[in-house]
């Protein structure tokens, strides 16, 4: 019983983390039809930048609680710098190309960013840590549930995921910007003909997506050692999440995150040797039954 509870809680925490990363990926795909492999690098950039920002914060001897603000700032800075640079500097020349070609472009970008990170931050593992070993991860203390103790930081993760989901759903369904975005998703050309600035929509979407990846990275940084190559691991699992849910679908990303989170937590608790196997097995199984993921719209066949 306790183990079942542990699976549920671990699964949900992991799902929140996955959702934060995957939602940016699915948003970018939904609007721009780009399956962005470089999303993993943006995640890593967020993590590395937050190490730099928090170290500077701690080095000045400011109160440790402020390190959370530094994490948030790191994510925003990465999003606002890397997003526009990549979209304006590279992607905008490639709109309208084959989806697979665009995957390869982002793969090239992934390779470039991986080395850029090595050049800037070196290859040694880094930690988000103050001079007395205080970390944002432990700062909030612990909470107990059903005899199990977890760092309260995990609640922050769950909170961020839920707020992100609610805000995005609200923006898409209830605001003018969201409705314009949906018009662009449905038919880019018609939307452009009706006077919607498609270029601007793409720009904003990519920047937002990049920022979400960086938020994921910044929130992960205090919980792990920040190493090069962390982006490569994350991107495949984020792919699994969005593919299970249906590429481009917001509720799909949420459901995919919960499924992958629970499957992974269950396999870690009951059959640890099947951890990776289980996640991708579920992905393959879902694709076999629903070739375009769980939440996918029917497509018009074009001759």
């Amino acid at each position: 019983m306790v183990q079942l509870l542990a699976v549920l809680i671990d699964g949900l925490i992991y799902a929140s983390w996955l959702f934060i990363i995957a939602v940016g990926l699915t948003l970018i795909y939904g609007v721009m039809k780009i399956l962005n492999i470089a999303h993993g690098s943006l995640y890593a950039l967020g993590a590395f930048t937050s190490v730099t920002f928090t170290s500077a914060w701690f080095a000045h001897g400011y109160p440790a609680m402020g390190s959370y603000a530094m994490l948030a700032l790191a994510a925003v800075v990465v999003g606002l710098v890397a997003g526009p640079v990549i979209e304006r500097g590279l992607l905008r020349f490639l709109y309208g190309k084959d989806e697979v070609v665009l995957v390869l472009v982002t793969y090239a970008l992934f390779l470039i960013l991986e080395d850029l990170i090595k050049l800037v931050w070196g290859v040694d593992p880094l930690f988000v840590q103050g001079p007395k070993g205080e970390t944002p991860y432990a700062l909030l203390g612990n909470f107990s549930i059903g005899g199990l103790t977890y760092p309260t930081y995990n609640l922050l993760l769950v909170g961020v995921a839920i707020v992100t989901a609610i805000v995005l759903t609200w923006v898409l369904a209830r605001t003018r910007a969201g409705k314009l975005l949906i018009a662009v998703i449905h038919d880019r050309e018609t939307a452009a003909a009706m006077g919607i600035d498609v270029g601007r929509t793409y720009f904003v979407t990519f920047t937002l997506g990049a920022m979400l990846a960086a938020v994921g990275g910044a929130l992960t940084a205090p919980t792990v050692s920040v190493v090069t190559g962390m982006g490569a691991e994350v991107i495949v699992i984020a792919f699994a999440v969005v593919v299970i849910g249906g590429l481009g679908s917001l509720p799909g990303a949420a459901l995919g995150a919960v499924i992958v989170g629970l499957v992974r937590a269950a396999s870690i608790h009951y059959r640890p040797e099947l951890e990776l196997f289980a996640v991708y097995f579920v992905m393959a199984a879902v694709l076999i039954v629903r070739p375009k993921g769980l939440f996918s719209a029917a497509e018009v066949r074009k001759i």
Binding site: F93, L109, I112, F239, F281, A284, L287, K292
Partner: protein, 346 residues
């Protein structure tokens, strides 16, 4: 049959490699060997890319081929154990077959015979691709890429946790003979080189023949418009399935040759970044000719080994930039440069 230009080029390349190979310095030899092993995998990608499909999981067959070659005795033994444990006579009999085959071949040729290893890799990758093909042939574009990726990550995930096969470290293997003739030191090195050249060039020649057959030519029609191909009475799924199996077997051979060549295998061969490298070389080379993948692999390996030598932290960046430039300015790959030059000369 009239000898075409590609056949002559393949023959010429084979002769040059076999004659000049032993005279080259060791580092160049190893560069060529690795490029040939990578090249044959990418040749598989080319067969698939002609139908318009890009697999982001070809590491699956590359890795599977290597493990089938290196661990065929272990795999056969564990299958037999599963059969024995099941208690069903029929299942037990079927699952003992691979072990009987391994024992019989080992009896004739001795353990770790290069020819036997290659045969196992072809059988295992071919069978796997035949089964997965029924599924994958229904998928296109990004969904094909993603489902292939999932399968390769399943293999990666299983191998990483399988202590019998060395987990993340993999294990070492050493080929000992070819067709029963025992080999040592120099003769072993040379035989490995000759086997790699022979297998890769023979495959290139066969693929070249295949691409000229009726079914081979269908591939490009499918890439352009598969609905029209169906209307004309040809089966798109069947063609894709056949190409998929060919592609997988070639990737498996590449993995097996690489295992024999460097004497070590690990699960990293199935990781998505390895598959990404194959896609990379495929795009770099273009689908213009069966020799393009080998040229692409040679360029890739050269960039990698030199960049790695002089600046270990920026070699991926060099590759990434090269790839962007090729996609932006040479959509047909490097091979299209040759076409252009030839076009101007004519």
């Amino acid at each position: 049959m009239k000898l075409d230009r590609t056949t002559l080029t393949i023959a010429a390349v084979t002769v040059v490699l076999l004659v000049a190979g032993p005279l080259l310095p060791a580092w160049m030899m190893s560069l060529i060997k690795i490029s040939l092993c990578y090249g044959i995998v990418v040749l598989g990608m080319l067969v698939l890319m002609r139908t318009g499909l890009v697999s982001f999981g070809h590491g699956l067959y590359y890795c599977l081929g290597a493990y089938a070659a290196a661990a065929h005795d272990k795999l056969a033994n564990s299958l037999a154990e599963v059969g024995d444990a099941s208690g069903w006579a029929l299942l037990r009999g079927i699952l003992r077959l691979p072990k009987m085959l391994v024992d019989a071949l080992t009896g004739v040729f001795g353990p770790y015979d290069i020819a036997v290893m290659l045969v196992f890799s072809v059988v295992v990758t071919g069978l796997t691709a035949w089964i997965l093909g029924f599924l994958l042939r229904k998928y296109r574009e990004i969904f094909f890429a993603m489902l292939s990726l999932a399968f390769s990550m399943i293999l990666y995930g299983s191998l990483v946790k399988s202590s019998a096969l060395g987990s993340t470290d993999g294990f070492n293997i050493a080929a000992r003979s070819v067709f029963g003739a025992t080999l040592e030191d120099d003769s072993l090195r040379q035989t490995i080189f000759v086997s790699i050249v022979a297998v890769t060039m023979l495959s290139a020649w066969l693929v070249n023949l295949y691409l000229r057959t009726h079914r081979g030519r269908l591939a490009e029609a499918i890439r352009d418009n598969e609905l029209r191909v169906e209307y004309m009475g040809a089966s798109v799924r069947r063609t894709i399935h056949v190409n998929y199996i060919i592609s997988a077997v070639l990737a498996g051979l590449g993995g097996a040759l690489m295992a024999i060549n460097i004497g070590h295998i690990d699960p990293e061969m199935a990781y998505w970044t390895t598959s990404g490298e194959f896609v990379f070389i495929g795009i770099l080379a273009g689908t213009g000719s069966v020799l393009a993948p080998f040229l692409g692999a040679l360029i890739f390996e050269t960039i990698r080994s030199f960049a790695y030598e002089y600046s270990p932290n920026t070699w991926q960046m060099a590759l990434g930039i090269t790839m962007l430039l090729v996609i932006l300015f040479l959509p047909g790959g490097l091979w299209s440069l040759f076409r252009k030059m030839r076009g101007k000369a004519a």
